[in-house]
């Protein structure tokens, strides 16, 4: 059932995996604690949940750093003739141990505690549109992030240390090069679309303000997941304030969506997006069960899966048609939608204030703004006092619009309050890589949008499983891309994708 005999043979690795299973179990529990907190936990349960999360984090660190365990991993680093998954286990554990060795338990506990407090403060601040009350927490978060970066060490600047945690081997200069690569194309595309009247991609669509019955939309989401061959025996769809995916292991991966009661594409595409994340975790090879490499390798590769399904498959013409059909069948409260109209509705383009509602053309500008601000804050070039003004200036610079409230600006994202500094660029990595996958897939399999709309989702899913999913974290992100797509990260396919879809219609 666990740790299949084919991939793990070395006695030392087997001993490591046996000992690791306790640490894995803590992770399994932490995943469920996190999922539950956003779905079913009664609100006042938060006090005890915070105690548990904090102590399990510290226990995880303690067990990973036990001298006997560290020694085994050190020994395994010298071992020759290991299989790829065996080397993957050593790589992932060594990375984790190296990181946690540098962070004192007190700091790890402090970060966990600050996360709970800052997130709570952020929720209240956002409700009251009150940046001042959140500022001290944000300052604390960045102070802790700076300390983490200094302790972990970096090549060029503190941001390197943080980014590497989410995207192994990816540096600040790589992120900068990535943005430099795509921004001109996106800018050109946006400028052109904004001057067009009555083009294929409208700025707004009447369906965006149209209300739907939530119960009907739930049925539509189920039908969408059925079309995507979602394995209900190994997964769930629930509701939360912010859609997310949690993996409790290869056989238990849960996604959430949300219902706002209007603009039905939001809930449909949130569901498809999370399905992409879930499929990655669900298709890891079962021989990797309950090991350190049983999940997706990095946030960027993960986001490439969610954006592939959401945008490249989901917003394609064939899938827009399939979604329109589902909506017409399951959501009578919308009174019938036209297939061609649904494609236009699914692909409206215009500068907007909120990242999670942004279209394909403007989305990466939102990420770039956060990337720039995070770097400046970490480098102490600016302070949290300057943040709202700078945020708004950059919005004007890139998108020509200016937030009127903090809620529409600097208070919109949950990430900073959760201590997730250096996380945002992985969204753009995902966009870029999703286009690389599209081009590779088109060469051997065909168009994923058409295949999925025809009910041949399994073919697309199998391709992804073989190339990417089944490996779990066996290979580092860049190694995986080179092995599976024949090339490390490359912005050209994404530029071609955007150009073909939006400029060459």
């Amino acid at each position: 059932m666990v740790a299949g005999n084919n991939v793990f043979k070395d006695a030392l690795i087997l001993e490591i995996l046996e000992r690791y299973r306790t640490i894995w179990s803590i992770g399994h529990a932490q995943a469920l604690l996190g999922w539950d907190m956003e779905t079913y936990m009664p609100p006042e349960g938060v006090a005890e949940r915070a105690i548990a999360s904090q102590h399990l984090s510290m226990l995880n660190q303690r067990l990973l750093l036990e001298p006997g365990f560290v020694e085994l991993v050190e020994k395994a680093k010298q071992r020759e003739g290991l299989t790829d998954p065996e080397r993957g286990v050593v790589r992932v554990l060594d990375r984790e141990i190296t990181r946690l060795k540098k962070l004192p338990p007190k700091l790890v506990g402090e970060i966990a505690k600050t996360r709970v407090e800052a997130q709570d403060a952020w929720k209240r601040a956002r409700e009251k549109d009150d940046y001042q009350s959140f500022k001290p927490y944000l300052d604390k978060v960045f102070t802790l992030a700076r300390e983490v970066a200094e302790r972990l060490g970096y090549e060029d600047e503190p941001y390197d240390a943080l980014l590497d945690y989410y995207e192994e081997g990816f540096r600040t200069r790589d992120a900068q090069a990535m943005f430099d690569g795509i921004i001109p194309t996106l800018k050109k595309t946006l400028d052109k679309l904004m001057t067009e009247e009555d083009g294929l991609y409208p700025k707004t669509h009447p369906l965006e303000s149209k209300e739907y019955a939530v119960g009907e939309a739930e049925e539509a989401n189920k039908a969408v997941l059925d079309l995507l061959a979602f394995p209900w025996k190994r997964g769930r769809l629930d509701v939360s304030a912010h859609p997310f995916t949690t993996s409790m292991g290869i056989r238990d991966v849960r996604i959430t969506t949300r219902y706002e009661g209007f603009d039905i594409k939001r809930t449909l595409y949130a569901t498809i997006h999370e399905y992409g994340h879930a499929l990655y975790e669900l298709q890891v090879d079962e021989s990797l069960m309950a090991t350190p490499i049983d999940g997706g390798v990095s946030l960027g590769i993960h986001e490439s899966q969610s954006r592939f399904w959401e945008n490249i498959v989901g917003r394609s013409r064939p899938m827009a048609g399939a979604l329109a059909e589902i909506v017409n069948k399951k959501v009578p409260s919308l009174g019938g939608v036209d297939m061609e109209e649904f494609y236009r509705y699914a692909n409206t383009v215009k500068p907007s204030l909120i990242r999670v509602e942004a279209d394909e053309v403007t989305y990466n500008f939102h990420i770039l703004i956060r990337f720039r601000l995070e770097r400046m804050l970490l480098n102490r070039e600016i302070s949290v006092d300057d943040l709202p003004e700078l945020w708004n200036n950059m919005m004007e610079e890139y998108l020509g619009i200016r937030p009127k409230t903090y809620r529409e600006g600097v208070l919109q994202d949950i990430h900073w309050s959760g201590g997730l500094i250096g996380y945002f660029p992985t969204y753009t990595i995902g966009n870029v890589v999703s286009a690389q996958i599209l081009e590779a897939m088109q060469q051997t399999l065909g168009d994923p949008g058409s295949l999925t709309a025809q009910g041949k989702t399994r073919e697309v899913a199998t391709w992804l499983r073989e190339k990417i999913h089944r490996h779990g974290s066996t290979y580092s992100p860049q190694e995986l891309l080179e092995r599976s797509l024949g090339k490390a990260m490359d912005t050209e396919p994404y530029k071609r994708y955007i150009t073909r879809k939006y400029l060459m219609q």
Copy 2:
């Protein structure tokens, strides 16, 4: 927020509590893993859940038995001048450490593993009514239970060692005396009711076969919990195959119920029963949060709370009226029920095969049968081969009816497959103690059924909080009863309760 300053002052105890918080966090996680497995976990998630449960069990043992921790607890045992909660902490930890010291980790792991396997085998065996396929698992369970008993040690017989785990300080001879005390009264009551025609308590009632709409019954259960002042911000009501209560801590206690689609009293009283368990955990004093004594002290005392609310309050005449009103308001699919009729319906009495559906008069016979069989199996007087025949013989002996299938007989309960041997007598302890509580309450507060039906649930709940709930596990069960009710366990009030309700109408 945690470990309030009023009750815990001793530096040694504070150090113990600080270290214990990690162990508490594992328990918090295990509680959620268990709850989730019965409510929302996708079916195929069981493989990884089993790995996690097993390893967290062993980790819990390992941390409790760490020499440094054991030493602190040993030191604390010598400490004088401790407050009651401080002494409670030492008592509970010492008990747990003493127990786990005697059980090798391999055995603890084996038990956890067997539990998952046997429970799975039991589910399949029960479906196919196939005792033979379950027999080897049951044999394994009792073999492990015997080994546990031998390792723990006992006074008179192996059963003592197992019973003490669920009911601290309670011996097999105490259980025997308890049954000897109540069985004659119950036998006499049953004999009289069975010869009556058209008495107040009918053998069956037309509502028992009447179907209801599940959605409506859900609303009725919510209304019942509203009447009982259930704190929704600190709890939930969900659905599971077998109703149960799980406490993740003082501020997060969740109950479940089930809907069979007919005989609505089953779901209503299951909900009220679980509410009784939940209220106990919810009303533990907050200063005990995240300590070893933050939950109910024993299964018997716990069951006294659930049976108090289910039977003494819930099946009283005023509450039958209140429930009838709720049903008439929320469950139109039943077409209206009469208040007096609802009392008769809620209190039908007749020998039946299934324990969980048994009435107040016959319930304890079911427990006695299991108690007798468990003892004989542990003492090797009988083997699992003899079990079905003996079960059926005892059913005839006590209740005059004989199961025709294994499902209606020896395969009906989940307990044995889960390794819970020595657990059943705590149900009867609960019945007995619930009547002691009733008499004590009547002297100072009044009739709990009337008060609750009038919407004065808070008065009843406050009385229970002051006398019992707030202490958590500060005192041992018998000490708690002596302090709060002025007397250790006593079967007289229960006999008076049964006699007054069923013989003196």
